[in-house]
């Protein structure tokens, strides 16, 4: 207790040291705890990007919600997209708490999204032109998300770790929902299988990109390394990508699909998958708002934001009374 009572008297270096000791000991940092600015900034960057990606991620699948080809699929995909919005809500609340001491709110997050300052995940900049994509996204994109999010379940930041726990539990259902769509198509007619193969061809590169470049030198950005130092995450991009391959490549092959990379194979000597790397310049282009659907999706978000402006005003006026 004594150290806590005198905590305010410590120098910043001492506070930092104490903070790093807590992290090293596996303690969880909570919203009101002292934390270095750098840690706070890293969390805000990571969690607001994650939160807004959930929300932007609802848009490609949302395209298929009214069109889902049976009552059962309509219900399932609605529930799935609703979960994604729910994840966004949960994460934005975690981000809002971190931003509060800086005088920032959700409004800032939305404005940063519209101005292009806040990026969202590369996969959600891509087109989803067929029902096969509705299956592929839920199966493999959510599958990839499970792998990268599970790694952070033990994140040093308590509120994020707890939000992820709930999110990951739901993601498992999403991947099952996706797998069910994919299997129905894989076991269906030649046209249905073609729809599926076509969709895999379209999504493969995006899935490679999903985990980010192998090292900082491809993007000149060391956020991933910093996040490892702060124990916000525990694995490198490449480790996660290899995990994804190990889990999904055999399944993709098992249902008779071809991966659009002739070089892909498992190297027994290194115990690693060998594959054709993505073009990381293209990746940078996509996430900076120049992907095939980036502008349309942002425009959709923006137009819904604008058309509902009067509703937000009306609610704010009620609160003020």
């Amino acid at each position: 207790m004594q150290t806590y009572l005198s905590f305010d008297d410590l120098t910043n270096e001492e506070k930092y040291e104490h903070f790093m000791e807590r992290i090293a000991a596996g303690e969880k940092i909570e919203a009101d705890d002292w934390m270095p600015d750098d840690y706070r900034q890293s969390l805000i960057r990571l969690i607001s990007m994650h939160g807004i990606s959930e929300i932007m991620g609802a848009l490609p699948e949302k395209e298929w919600v009214p069109k889902a080809p049976s009552l059962h699929r309509k219900l399932a995909i609605m529930a799935k997209v609703q979960d994604e919005m729910g994840h966004g809500q949960l994460l934005l609340r975690v981000a809002e708490d971190l931003m509060a001491p800086l005088g920032k709110t959700r409004e800032h997050i939305m404005q940063d999204l519209f101005s292009g300052k806040l990026k969202f995940h590369n996969v959600f900049h891509m087109e989803a032109p067929t029902w096969g994509d509705a299956g592929m996204i839920a199966w493999l994109v959510d599958g990839a998300a499970i792998i990268s999010q599970s790694m952070m379940l033990d994140s040093s930041y308590g509120p994020y770790a707890r939000a992820l726990k709930r999110i990951c539990a739901e993601e498992v259902f999403h991947a099952q929902h996706g797998e069910s769509i994919v299997l129905a198509l894989a076991e269906g007619t030649a046209e249905q299988r073609a729809l599926l193969q076509d969709s895999l061809n379209r999504w493969w590169t995006s899935l490679i990109m999903f985990f980010g470049p192998k090292s900082a030198k491809e993007t000149g950005n060391s956020n991933a390394d910093k996040n490892i130092m702060y124990k916000i995450r525990t694995k490198t991009n490449e480790e996660l990508r290899q995990e994804f391959f190990t889990k999904y490549i055999p399944r993709i092959w098992a249902i008779g699909l071809t991966i659009p990379d002739e070089t892909i194979h498992f190297d027994e000597s290194t115990q690693l998958w060998v594959y054709k790397d993505a073009d990381w310049n293209e990746f940078k282009q996509i996430v900076s708002g120049h992907g095939p659907r980036s502008q349309e999706r942002l425009a959709l978000r923006q137009s819904s934001y604008d058309m509902n402006g009067w509703v937000r005003e009306a609610l704010a006026a009620k609160k003020a009374i």
Partner: protein
């Protein structure tokens, strides 16, 4: 038998088409929390429609998915108000949706749906009675949800009041289509499948009058109308054609296979 099926088609199609319109809002609601809540309501409603489609299947009608996706617009029995588009644009491209219209339509419909279910709970047709009881549990929450929105927007800024008033005039003009039980109404009532439509209508009118009173809003003039046709007779607008084309787009590419 014909009257019973007609009644269940009305119940199924009302929920199915309004849930479809609701699903177009997904990702576009006024705030993220509402997106989550509204989507949950739409799933419930689509689930209610599914239960009714299953009742119809048990009565010898087509299999539920076929019934939902393959019928011609004339075969739909939903009220025309419920098929009306959410606004201009499409859910994919430049939607200019009207939240006031959505709130009023859903609130007025929810009030009626509750009254209708309370009557169906005592229906002479047991399977309908059972389904009504199940649906009522969820319906309670939907009604509360829309009532909160309705009251909040009606008692807030001038702009919100203006938009809500305009939406009420629009909804009133065709709410008569929800209130009617259609051409087989006499048989439905005689067989005790449901109460007289005039009884249900009186209950609905007094519920609406009460909430308008409490929000210092003038009661709407005259009787609710049926300006764009009687959906219970299979009269519909191009809005329904567009809805069916969208909701069946994938299914019709091959109705024989599983998806």
């Amino acid at each position: 038998m014909k009257a019973l099926k007609e009644l269940i088609y009305q119940l199924a199609d009302d929920d199915f088409i309004l849930a479809y319109r609701g699903s177009e809002w997904l990702g576009l609601a006024p705030h993220i929390e509402e997106d989550v809540a509204f989507s949950s309501i739409n799933q419930d409603m689509m689930g209610h429609a599914t239960m009714y489609f299953q009742l119809l299947e048990a009565l010898g009608e087509q299999e539920a998915d076929q019934n939902a996706h393959l019928r011609a617009p004339e075969a739909f029995r939903n009220a025309v108000l419920l098929e009306e588009v959410n606004g201009t644009g499409s859910y994919l491209h430049q939607p200019n949706y009207d939240w006031a219209f959505t709130v009023v339509r859903n609130y007025f419909y929810s009030v009626h749906k509750k009254i209708r279910l309370d009557s169906l709970r005592l229906s002479s047709y047991e399977p309908l009675r059972n389904v009504a009881k199940k649906i009522l549990m969820e319906q309670q929450y939907h009604l509360m949800h829309w009532e909160v929105w309705f009251r909040q927007l009606l008692t807030s800024t001038d702009e919100a009041k203006r938009r809500m008033t305009e939406a009420m005039v629009k909804v009133w003009a065709s709410f008569g289509g929800v209130l009617t039980l259609g051409p087989y109404y006499g048989e439905m009532v005689k067989a005790n499948f449901i109460d007289d439509e005039n009884v249900l209508k009186t209950r609905w009118m007094s519920a609406i009058k009460k909430v308008l009173n409490e929000t210092n809003t003038n009661m709407l003039p005259g009787e609710p109308g049926m300006t764009s046709g009687n959906g219970r007779k299979g009269e519909h607008t191009t809005d329904l054609q567009q809805a069916i084309a969208t909701l069946a787009e994938v299914y019709v590419t091959n109705p024989a296979v599983s998806w």
